[in-house]
Protein backbone atom coordinates (compact mmCIF):
# COMPACT_ATOMS: atom_id res chain seq x y z
CA UNK A 1 0.00 0.00 0.00
CA UNK A 2 1.50 3.29 -1.10
CA UNK A 3 2.01 6.06 1.41
CA UNK A 4 -0.59 8.79 0.92
CA UNK A 5 0.94 12.25 0.53
CA UNK A 6 -1.06 14.75 2.57
CA UNK A 7 -2.45 17.51 0.38
CA UNK A 8 -1.28 15.97 -2.88
CA UNK A 9 -3.91 15.91 -5.62
CA UNK A 10 -1.80 15.85 -8.78
CA UNK A 11 -2.36 17.43 -12.17
CA UNK A 12 -3.44 14.15 -13.75
CA UNK A 13 -1.99 14.93 -17.10
CA UNK A 14 -2.35 11.57 -18.67
CA UNK A 15 -4.89 9.67 -16.62
CA UNK A 16 -6.85 8.75 -19.74
CA UNK A 17 -6.37 5.00 -20.10
CA UNK A 18 -3.84 5.42 -22.90
CA UNK A 19 -1.04 6.45 -20.58
CA UNK A 20 0.76 3.67 -18.71
CA UNK A 21 1.00 3.93 -14.91
CA UNK A 22 3.54 6.45 -13.61
CA UNK A 23 3.66 8.37 -16.91
CA UNK A 24 2.61 11.96 -17.65
CA UNK A 25 1.81 13.45 -21.05
CA UNK A 26 4.01 15.93 -22.87
CA UNK A 27 3.42 17.96 -26.02
CA UNK A 28 7.08 18.62 -26.70
CA UNK A 29 9.63 15.90 -27.44
CA UNK A 30 12.30 15.63 -24.73
CA UNK A 31 15.81 14.53 -25.72
CA UNK A 32 17.74 11.98 -23.70
CA UNK A 33 21.03 10.43 -24.66
CA UNK A 34 24.20 9.51 -22.86
CA UNK A 35 26.71 11.67 -24.74
CA UNK A 36 27.16 14.13 -27.59
CA UNK A 37 24.81 13.80 -30.56
CA UNK A 38 26.56 11.91 -33.38
CA UNK A 39 26.25 13.41 -36.87
CA UNK A 40 25.63 10.56 -39.30
CA UNK A 41 25.73 11.35 -43.03
CA UNK A 42 23.18 9.48 -45.19
CA UNK A 43 25.86 9.16 -47.94
CA UNK A 44 27.87 6.90 -45.66
CA UNK A 45 24.93 5.46 -43.75
CA UNK A 46 24.66 1.70 -43.74
CA UNK A 47 22.34 -0.60 -41.85
CA UNK A 48 23.38 -4.18 -41.11
CA UNK A 49 21.60 -7.22 -39.76
CA UNK A 50 24.07 -9.98 -38.76
CA UNK A 51 22.73 -13.44 -38.13
CA UNK A 52 23.89 -15.92 -35.50
CA UNK A 53 25.66 -17.81 -38.32
CA UNK A 54 27.66 -14.69 -39.17
CA UNK A 55 25.97 -13.79 -42.44
CA UNK A 56 25.47 -10.09 -43.01
CA UNK A 57 22.58 -8.32 -44.69
CA UNK A 58 23.31 -4.70 -45.51
CA UNK A 59 21.41 -1.73 -46.86
CA UNK A 60 22.69 1.63 -48.03
CA UNK A 61 20.44 4.66 -47.49
CA UNK A 62 19.15 4.40 -51.10
CA UNK A 63 18.53 0.66 -50.82
CA UNK A 64 16.68 1.11 -47.53
CA UNK A 65 14.56 3.96 -48.90
CA UNK A 66 13.59 1.82 -51.91
CA UNK A 67 11.80 -0.65 -49.59
CA UNK A 68 8.07 -0.27 -48.96
CA UNK A 69 7.42 2.55 -46.50
CA UNK A 70 4.97 2.48 -43.60
CA UNK A 71 3.49 5.42 -41.70
CA UNK A 72 2.90 4.35 -38.11
CA UNK A 73 1.11 6.71 -35.70
CA UNK A 74 1.96 5.46 -32.22
CA UNK A 75 2.16 6.43 -28.53
CA UNK A 76 5.65 6.47 -27.03
CA UNK A 77 6.67 6.09 -23.39
CA UNK A 78 10.02 7.10 -21.87
CA UNK A 79 11.27 5.48 -18.67
CA UNK A 80 11.90 9.04 -17.37
CA UNK A 81 8.07 9.22 -17.07
CA UNK A 82 6.93 11.21 -20.11
CA UNK A 83 4.58 9.80 -22.70
CA UNK A 84 3.67 11.32 -26.03
CA UNK A 85 0.50 10.31 -27.84
CA UNK A 86 -0.11 9.95 -31.58
CA UNK A 87 3.46 10.50 -32.75
CA UNK A 88 3.68 10.29 -36.54
CA UNK A 89 6.59 8.47 -38.16
CA UNK A 90 7.65 7.00 -41.48
CA UNK A 91 9.91 4.04 -41.78
CA UNK A 92 10.48 0.48 -42.86
CA UNK A 93 8.84 -2.31 -40.92
CA UNK A 94 11.32 -4.69 -39.31
CA UNK A 95 9.19 -7.45 -40.87
CA UNK A 96 10.33 -6.16 -44.27
CA UNK A 97 13.98 -5.99 -43.23
CA UNK A 98 13.90 -9.45 -41.60
CA UNK A 99 11.98 -11.11 -44.44
CA UNK A 100 14.19 -13.64 -46.19
CA UNK A 101 16.78 -13.67 -43.42
CA UNK A 102 17.14 -17.22 -42.19
CA UNK A 103 17.61 -17.34 -38.45
CA UNK A 104 16.92 -19.40 -35.35
CA UNK A 105 17.76 -16.45 -33.12
CA UNK A 106 15.65 -15.64 -30.08
CA UNK A 107 17.12 -12.23 -29.26
CA UNK A 108 18.60 -9.13 -30.88
CA UNK A 109 21.22 -6.62 -29.84
CA UNK A 110 20.74 -3.19 -31.41
CA UNK A 111 23.97 -1.20 -31.91
CA UNK A 112 24.14 2.57 -32.41
CA UNK A 113 26.77 4.82 -33.96
CA UNK A 114 27.75 6.22 -30.55
CA UNK A 115 28.45 2.76 -29.11
CA UNK A 116 25.06 2.47 -27.39
CA UNK A 117 23.44 -0.96 -27.31
CA UNK A 118 20.06 -2.33 -26.24
CA UNK A 119 18.62 -5.87 -26.29
CA UNK A 120 15.20 -7.16 -27.30
CA UNK A 121 13.53 -10.51 -27.94
CA UNK A 122 13.41 -10.98 -31.73
CA UNK A 123 9.65 -11.57 -31.53
CA UNK A 124 9.25 -7.95 -30.32
CA UNK A 125 10.61 -6.71 -33.65
CA UNK A 126 8.22 -8.88 -35.72
CA UNK A 127 4.51 -8.77 -36.37
CA UNK A 128 4.14 -5.07 -37.23
CA UNK A 129 5.51 -3.90 -33.88
CA UNK A 130 8.80 -2.22 -34.88
CA UNK A 131 10.25 0.04 -37.55
CA UNK A 132 13.45 1.58 -38.78
CA UNK A 133 12.16 5.17 -38.67
CA UNK A 134 13.56 8.12 -40.62
CA UNK A 135 10.93 10.84 -40.42
CA UNK A 136 9.10 12.29 -37.45
CA UNK A 137 6.03 14.50 -37.84
CA UNK A 138 6.56 14.78 -41.58
CA UNK A 139 10.18 15.92 -41.40
CA UNK A 140 13.49 14.07 -41.65
CA UNK A 141 14.38 12.76 -38.20
CA UNK A 142 16.67 15.33 -36.56
CA UNK A 143 20.07 14.24 -35.18
CA UNK A 144 19.09 14.80 -31.52
CA UNK A 145 16.15 12.42 -31.95
CA UNK A 146 18.35 9.77 -33.57
CA UNK A 147 18.40 10.88 -37.21
CA UNK A 148 18.99 9.94 -39.89
CA UNK A 149 17.37 6.70 -38.69
CA UNK A 150 16.45 5.11 -35.38
CA UNK A 151 14.72 2.02 -34.18
CA UNK A 152 11.05 2.55 -33.24
CA UNK A 153 9.60 -0.05 -30.85
CA UNK A 154 6.71 1.84 -29.28
CA UNK A 155 5.34 -0.97 -27.11
CA UNK A 156 8.51 -0.92 -24.96
CA UNK A 157 10.08 1.95 -22.99
CA UNK A 158 11.78 4.25 -25.44
CA UNK A 159 15.39 3.44 -24.47
CA UNK A 160 14.81 0.24 -26.53
CA UNK A 161 14.19 2.43 -29.62
CA UNK A 162 17.91 2.92 -30.24
CA UNK A 163 18.89 6.22 -31.88
CA UNK A 164 21.48 6.41 -34.71
CA UNK A 165 20.93 2.73 -35.37
CA UNK A 166 23.78 1.02 -37.18
CA UNK A 167 23.37 -2.70 -36.74
CA UNK A 168 21.20 -5.50 -35.37
CA UNK A 169 22.97 -8.63 -34.20
CA UNK A 170 20.78 -11.73 -33.99
CA UNK A 171 21.57 -13.83 -30.92
CA UNK A 172 20.77 -17.34 -29.70
CA UNK A 173 20.39 -16.06 -26.13
CA UNK A 174 19.59 -12.83 -24.31
CA UNK A 175 22.41 -10.45 -23.40
CA UNK A 176 22.01 -7.12 -21.60
CA UNK A 177 22.64 -3.90 -23.52
CA UNK A 178 23.90 -0.57 -22.21
CA UNK A 179 21.12 0.54 -19.83
CA UNK A 180 20.24 -3.05 -19.01
CA UNK A 181 23.79 -3.44 -17.63
CA UNK A 182 23.33 -0.14 -15.80
CA UNK A 183 20.38 -1.20 -13.69
CA UNK A 184 17.41 -0.91 -16.05
CA UNK A 185 14.91 -3.70 -16.66
CA UNK A 186 15.81 -6.33 -19.22
CA UNK A 187 12.49 -6.12 -21.12
CA UNK A 188 10.92 -2.71 -20.34
CA UNK A 189 7.13 -3.06 -20.72
CA UNK A 190 5.63 0.35 -19.81
CA UNK A 191 2.25 -1.17 -18.88
CA UNK A 192 3.97 -3.42 -16.33
CA UNK A 193 6.19 -0.49 -15.19
CA UNK A 194 9.30 -2.55 -15.86
CA UNK A 195 11.70 0.35 -15.30
CA UNK A 196 14.55 -1.11 -13.29
CA UNK A 197 15.98 -4.53 -12.49
CA UNK A 198 13.60 -6.42 -10.26
CA UNK A 199 10.47 -4.43 -11.26
Amino acid sequence: MALVSRGFHGKRRGNDGRTPPGQYLVDDFPVLSLGPTPRVDTDRWQFTISTEMGSKHQWSWQQMRALPEEKPTVDIHCVTKWSKLDTRWRGISLDTLLAGIETQATHVMAHSHDGYTTNLPLSDLRGGKAWLAYTFDGKPLSPEHGGPARLLVPHLYFWKSAKWIEKLTLLMRDEPGFWERNGYHDYGDPWQEQRYQGD
Binding site: A2, G7, F8, G10, R12, F29, P30, G35, K81, Y196
Partner: protein
Protein backbone atom coordinates in the same frame (compact mmCIF):
# COMPACT_ATOMS: atom_id res chain seq x y z
CA UNK B 1 13.76 -1.99 -6.74
CA UNK B 2 11.76 -1.30 -3.61
CA UNK B 3 10.02 1.93 -2.65
CA UNK B 4 11.48 3.31 0.57
CA UNK B 5 9.94 5.74 3.02
CA UNK B 6 11.85 9.03 3.29
CA UNK B 7 11.32 11.47 6.15
CA UNK B 8 12.08 15.14 5.50
CA UNK B 9 14.48 16.36 8.18
CA UNK B 10 15.61 19.71 6.79
CA UNK B 11 14.71 22.18 4.09
CA UNK B 12 17.31 24.68 2.88
CA UNK B 13 16.31 27.52 0.59
CA UNK B 14 19.01 27.81 -2.09
CA UNK B 15 17.52 30.42 -4.43
CA UNK B 16 14.06 31.95 -4.92
CA UNK B 17 13.10 28.78 -6.86
CA UNK B 18 15.40 26.00 -5.62
CA UNK B 19 15.36 24.13 -2.34
CA UNK B 20 17.60 21.45 -0.86
CA UNK B 21 15.62 18.75 0.92
CA UNK B 22 17.41 16.48 3.35
CA UNK B 23 15.75 13.12 3.98
CA UNK B 24 16.34 10.19 6.29
CA UNK B 25 15.71 7.04 4.28
CA UNK B 26 15.56 3.85 6.26
CA UNK B 27 17.48 1.12 4.44
CA UNK B 28 19.13 3.44 1.91
CA UNK B 29 21.72 1.26 0.12
CA UNK B 30 24.21 4.08 -0.59
CA UNK B 31 25.00 5.74 -3.91
CA UNK B 32 27.63 7.22 -6.20
CA UNK B 33 27.86 10.94 -7.01
CA UNK B 34 25.81 11.70 -10.12
CA UNK B 35 23.04 9.18 -9.48
CA UNK B 36 19.39 10.09 -8.97
CA UNK B 37 16.23 8.87 -7.27
CA UNK B 38 12.62 8.44 -8.30
CA UNK B 39 10.15 10.19 -6.01
CA UNK B 40 6.55 8.99 -5.83
CA UNK B 41 3.62 10.99 -4.49
CA UNK B 42 0.23 9.34 -4.01
CA UNK B 43 -3.12 11.10 -3.65
CA UNK B 44 -5.87 9.83 -1.35
CA UNK B 45 -7.72 8.20 -4.25
CA UNK B 46 -4.63 6.23 -5.27
CA UNK B 47 -3.50 8.48 -8.15
CA UNK B 48 0.27 8.74 -8.10
CA UNK B 49 2.96 10.76 -9.86
CA UNK B 50 6.67 10.00 -10.13
CA UNK B 51 9.64 12.19 -11.02
CA UNK B 52 13.42 11.84 -10.96
CA UNK B 53 15.71 14.10 -8.91
CA UNK B 54 19.49 14.17 -8.72
CA UNK B 55 21.21 13.34 -5.45
CA UNK B 56 23.03 16.48 -4.33
CA UNK B 57 25.49 14.94 -1.89
CA UNK B 58 27.75 11.89 -1.87
CA UNK B 59 26.50 8.82 -0.03
CA UNK B 60 26.43 9.10 3.77
CA UNK B 61 24.50 6.37 5.57
CA UNK B 62 20.73 6.74 5.55
CA UNK B 63 20.77 10.46 4.82
CA UNK B 64 20.31 11.84 1.32
CA UNK B 65 19.92 15.34 -0.14
CA UNK B 66 17.91 16.37 -3.19
CA UNK B 67 18.01 19.87 -4.62
CA UNK B 68 14.72 20.56 -6.35
CA UNK B 69 14.04 23.41 -8.75
CA UNK B 70 10.38 24.42 -8.51
CA UNK B 71 8.67 24.17 -11.87
CA UNK B 72 5.85 26.74 -11.69
CA UNK B 73 3.24 24.52 -13.29
CA UNK B 74 4.89 21.30 -12.11
CA UNK B 75 3.07 18.36 -10.58
CA UNK B 76 5.66 17.14 -8.05
CA UNK B 77 8.29 19.86 -7.49
CA UNK B 78 5.96 22.52 -5.93
CA UNK B 79 4.69 19.87 -3.51
CA UNK B 80 8.23 18.94 -2.46
CA UNK B 81 9.47 22.51 -2.06
CA UNK B 82 6.33 24.12 -0.61
CA UNK B 83 3.71 21.71 0.75
CA UNK B 84 5.88 19.04 2.35
CA UNK B 85 6.94 19.93 5.87
CA UNK B 86 9.80 18.73 8.03
CA UNK B 87 8.80 15.47 9.72
CA UNK B 88 6.53 14.39 6.85
CA UNK B 89 7.19 11.44 4.58
CA UNK B 90 7.32 10.62 0.89
CA UNK B 91 8.31 7.50 -1.03
CA UNK B 92 11.41 7.20 -3.14
CA UNK B 93 13.66 4.57 -4.63
CA UNK B 94 17.15 4.42 -5.96
CA UNK B 95 19.92 4.96 -6.55
CA UNK B 96 19.32 5.02 -10.30
CA UNK B 97 21.79 5.50 -13.16
CA UNK B 98 25.22 3.94 -13.47
CA UNK B 99 26.58 6.07 -16.29
CA UNK B 100 26.54 9.73 -15.26
CA UNK B 101 28.67 9.05 -12.16
CA UNK B 102 32.15 9.99 -11.03
CA UNK B 103 34.31 7.24 -9.57
CA UNK B 104 36.96 8.74 -7.28
CA UNK B 105 39.39 5.94 -8.16
CA UNK B 106 39.68 7.35 -11.71
CA UNK B 107 42.86 9.39 -12.12
CA UNK B 108 41.58 11.50 -15.06
CA UNK B 109 40.97 15.21 -14.48
CA UNK B 110 37.29 16.14 -14.41
CA UNK B 111 35.61 18.90 -16.40
CA UNK B 112 32.09 19.70 -15.20
CA UNK B 113 29.73 21.94 -17.15
CA UNK B 114 26.42 22.89 -15.53
CA UNK B 115 23.45 24.77 -16.91
CA UNK B 116 20.98 25.98 -14.25
CA UNK B 117 19.90 23.20 -11.90
CA UNK B 118 22.21 20.88 -13.86
CA UNK B 119 24.65 21.88 -11.11
CA UNK B 120 23.05 19.38 -8.70
CA UNK B 121 24.67 16.05 -9.73
CA UNK B 122 27.92 17.88 -10.55
CA UNK B 123 28.00 19.37 -7.05
CA UNK B 124 27.60 15.83 -5.66
CA UNK B 125 30.78 14.95 -7.59
CA UNK B 126 32.62 18.06 -6.37
CA UNK B 127 31.61 17.29 -2.79
CA UNK B 128 32.73 13.67 -3.20
CA UNK B 129 36.13 14.95 -4.35
CA UNK B 130 36.38 17.13 -1.24
CA UNK B 131 35.72 14.11 0.96
CA UNK B 132 38.15 11.94 -0.96
CA UNK B 133 41.84 11.67 -0.15
CA UNK B 134 42.61 12.16 -3.85
CA UNK B 135 43.49 15.49 -5.37
CA UNK B 136 41.98 14.90 -8.81
CA UNK B 137 41.96 18.24 -10.69
CA UNK B 138 38.39 19.52 -11.17
CA UNK B 139 37.10 22.40 -13.22
CA UNK B 140 33.47 23.48 -12.94
CA UNK B 141 31.89 25.84 -15.44
CA UNK B 142 28.49 26.97 -14.22
CA UNK B 143 26.04 28.83 -16.41
CA UNK B 144 23.15 30.57 -14.66
CA UNK B 145 20.78 33.42 -15.47
CA UNK B 146 22.11 35.74 -12.79
CA UNK B 147 24.01 35.58 -9.52
CA UNK B 148 20.63 35.28 -7.73
CA UNK B 149 20.06 32.02 -9.58
CA UNK B 150 23.29 30.39 -8.41
CA UNK B 151 22.55 27.30 -6.35
CA UNK B 152 25.19 26.56 -3.62
CA UNK B 153 26.64 30.07 -4.16
CA UNK B 154 28.39 30.31 -0.79
CA UNK B 155 29.92 26.83 -0.97
CA UNK B 156 31.16 27.52 -4.50
CA UNK B 157 33.20 30.46 -3.19
CA UNK B 158 35.07 28.27 -0.71
CA UNK B 159 35.88 25.10 -2.61
CA UNK B 160 39.19 23.41 -1.81
CA UNK B 161 42.34 23.94 -3.81
CA UNK B 162 42.37 21.99 -7.05
CA UNK B 163 38.78 22.87 -7.94
CA UNK B 164 38.53 25.77 -10.39
CA UNK B 165 35.17 27.44 -10.82
CA UNK B 166 34.15 29.66 -13.73
CA UNK B 167 30.81 31.29 -14.27
CA UNK B 168 28.79 32.27 -17.28
CA UNK B 169 25.79 34.50 -16.68
CA UNK B 170 23.19 34.53 -19.41
CA UNK B 171 20.93 37.44 -18.34
CA UNK B 172 22.55 39.58 -15.69
CA UNK B 173 26.08 39.37 -14.33
CA UNK B 174 27.70 40.81 -11.22
CA UNK B 175 30.17 43.69 -12.00
CA UNK B 176 33.26 41.45 -12.01
CA UNK B 177 31.72 39.33 -14.78
CA UNK B 178 30.17 42.20 -16.70
CA UNK B 179 31.77 41.20 -19.98
CA UNK B 180 30.38 37.70 -19.63
CA UNK B 181 26.65 38.09 -20.19
CA UNK B 182 25.27 35.67 -22.77
CA UNK B 183 25.35 32.05 -23.70
CA UNK B 184 28.25 29.74 -23.01
CA UNK B 185 30.83 29.79 -25.80
CA UNK B 186 33.68 27.51 -26.87
CA UNK B 187 36.02 30.11 -25.36
CA UNK B 188 34.52 29.49 -21.92
CA UNK B 189 35.25 25.79 -22.30
CA UNK B 190 38.78 26.17 -23.64
CA UNK B 191 41.59 26.71 -21.18
CA UNK B 192 45.33 26.32 -21.45
CA UNK B 193 45.38 23.90 -18.54
CA UNK B 194 42.37 21.93 -19.76
CA UNK B 195 43.35 20.93 -23.29
CA UNK B 196 41.67 17.84 -24.76
CA UNK B 197 45.08 16.08 -24.70
CA UNK B 198 44.94 16.06 -20.90
CA UNK B 199 41.93 13.75 -21.52
CA UNK B 200 39.52 15.02 -18.90
CA UNK B 201 36.34 13.10 -18.17
CA UNK B 202 33.61 15.60 -19.09
CA UNK B 203 30.20 15.69 -17.42
CA UNK B 204 27.60 18.04 -18.88
CA UNK B 205 24.21 18.52 -17.21
CA UNK B 206 21.46 21.01 -17.90
CA UNK B 207 18.50 21.81 -20.13
CA UNK B 208 18.46 20.01 -23.48
CA UNK B 209 19.56 22.95 -25.65
CA UNK B 210 22.41 23.81 -23.29
CA UNK B 211 23.69 20.23 -23.18
CA UNK B 212 23.38 19.79 -26.95
CA UNK B 213 25.40 22.91 -27.74
CA UNK B 214 27.96 22.33 -24.96
CA UNK B 215 28.63 18.72 -25.96
CA UNK B 216 28.96 19.78 -29.61
CA UNK B 217 31.48 22.49 -28.62
CA UNK B 218 33.51 20.02 -26.55
CA UNK B 219 33.68 17.63 -29.51
CA UNK B 220 34.74 20.50 -31.80
CA UNK B 221 37.45 21.50 -29.34
CA UNK B 222 38.84 17.98 -29.68
CA UNK B 223 37.44 16.14 -26.68
CA UNK B 224 36.73 12.48 -27.52
CA UNK B 225 32.94 11.86 -27.64
CA UNK B 226 33.31 8.79 -25.42
CA UNK B 227 34.78 10.97 -22.67
CA UNK B 228 31.74 13.25 -22.65
CA UNK B 229 28.82 12.08 -20.51
CA UNK B 230 25.60 14.03 -20.64
CA UNK B 231 22.39 14.37 -18.72
CA UNK B 232 19.62 16.44 -20.31
CA UNK B 233 16.39 17.63 -18.80
CA UNK B 234 13.39 19.65 -19.87
CA UNK B 235 11.73 20.11 -23.23
CA UNK B 236 13.45 20.40 -26.59
Amino acid sequence: MEWLVATLVEKILETHTACTLIYDVEGWPGHQPGQHVDVRLTAEDGYSAQRSYSLAQPGAGDRIALTVQTVADGEVSPYLTSTLEVGEQIELRGPIGGWFVWNEARPSPVLLVAGGSGIVPLMAMTRARSLSARKTPFRLIYSARSSDDLIYARELRSLPEGVEVDYRFTREAPPEYDDRVGRLTAQDLASEKWQPDSSPDCFVCGPTGFVESTADMLVELGHAPYRIRTERFGPT
